[in-house]
């Protein structure tokens, strides 16, 4: 059985903790909190996802933005170039061939950015977990903020994911002494699975930078 550890010479990959999205992270002074609150409100009300159509969840994303489940009501409008967007909406399986390009798209986006992974293929490789070319879970390539389970998730589930993302943006950078979610963690953002060695990414890891 070709155990994949031997395929490991692709270089070490760590899971990137998301960089602080807000310049005034955890600001405690008066002006900082007001600016944070204003920025979070503005960000929450107009989320621009990148126009990236991978597989079936892309059709469900399009249906979510179409007439019946119109997400433009809360300001979600797909844009073509990653430069103008702040959410990377992953809607399909990520293969080894596409992983480094997906990383480039993620890096091109300006800073306060989030990742919105929909569908089983994005969360854990989905029904094709057996195949050697699939990266099991997108969070081995880029840090993910919200997972939306379902294959493909219904537009209502997409809406729930967007609301979950809005809650996350609302608390971004605001210093909150007690934990945000008193009740047990929801399924939406469970811990990322053990990472996979087969991705060849840029060599300089986080540690040298510090």
């Amino acid at each position: 059985m070709a155990s994949l550890d031997e395929l490991n010479q692709l270089g070490e990959l760590e899971i990137y903790e998301p960089m602080p999205n807000v310049v005034l992270a955890n600001a405690r002074n008066f002006v900082g909190v007001i600016l944070n609150w204003m920025r979070n409100w503005a960000q929450r009300c107009s989320i621009y996802p990148v126009y990236i159509g991978m597989k079936c969840c892309a059709i469900e994303m399009a249906a979510t933005m179409a007439s019946r489940y119109d997400t433009e009501r809360i300001g979600v409008l797909a844009r073509a170039s990653p430069r103008h967007c702040d959410v990377l909406w992953i809607n399909g399986p990520v293969t080894i061939k596409f992983a480094s390009r997906l990383r480039d798209v993620y890096d091109q986006m300006p800073h306060p950015k989030w990742v919105f992974a929909t569908g089983e293929c994005a969360i854990s490789g989905g029904p094709f977990w057996q195949s050697p070319t699939i990266v099991e879970g997108v969070d081995q390539v880029i840090p993910v903020d919200v997972f939306v389970p379902g294959c493909p998730p219904r537009p209502e589930a997409m809406w729930a994911g967007i609301f979950r993302l809005q809650e996350k943006i609302k608390a971004d950078g605001i210093f909150v002494p007690e934990p945000l979610l008193p009740e047990p963690r929801e399924f939406y953002d469970r811990d990322p699975p053990f990472h996979d060695y087969r991705i060849k990414l840029k060599k300089e890891s986080k540690k040298e930078e510090k």
Binding site: M1, A2, L4, E6, L7, Q9, L10, T95, I96, K97, S124, G125, W129, Q130, S131, P132, T133, E136, G137, Q140, D191, P192, P193, F194, H195, D196, R198, K200
Partner: protein
């Protein structure tokens, strides 16, 4: 040109070269050819008998030998589907003549054949990997079958690879 006339013209033209020729269904023909005179039969099929388009090329790995199955069909006149089998015996470097000069649609199918089965194609315009990533050859593979994953020796993992308990 009805099906029977196809049968007759194939019989008296290539009776020596064809190993097997039979009529499987209402408008289906099955043909077996050796590797050497495959090109010649195909040219006759395309130019004389008007089989105008190549459907697909399927590789088959019967553990001891390889087999390549061509599906060719014609649309105008009385449409029939032709299934051509070619058997390749040596497993080290199986070789098939390229049909891109006859049907342009064979280009991608033959590249996929080479990509997933390792069956090299003689004088193909640009024989590169089509579906697998380009750096697939640089990965350190334990067994030749991992280079060409559709071979029978390569087995898919039973248990999901990455779901080991997360080192908290």
């Amino acid at each position: 040109m009805s099906l029977e006339s196809h049968l007759q013209s194939l019989k008296e033209k290539y009776s020596s070269k064809l190993i097997l020729l039979e009529k499987t269904e209402k408008n289906r023909l099955k043909l077996q050819v050796t590797q050497e005179n495959l090109l010649e039969v195909m040219q006759c099929l395309k130019y004389e008998m008007g089989f105008s388009s190549l459907e697909s090329i399927a590789g088959l790995d019967w553990e001891t030998y390889f087999e390549v199955v061509y599906h060719i069909d014609r649309w105008d006149g009385d449409p029939t589907l032709l299934q051509v089998h070619v058997r390749l015996d040596d497993r080290e470097n199986p070789m098939v003549p390229s049909l891109t000069s006859i049907w342009a649609s064979a280009n991608w199918h033959e590249r996929e054949l080479w990509d997933l089965y390792g069956i090299s194609v003689k004088d193909h315009p640009n024989l590169k990997r089509l579906l697998l990533p380009d750096e697939w050859d640089e990965f350190k593979h334990k067994h030749i079958s991992e280079l060409y994953p559709m071979r029978k020796e390569y087995k898919l993992p039973e248990k999901p690879y990455s779901f080991k308990p997360h080192p908290k």
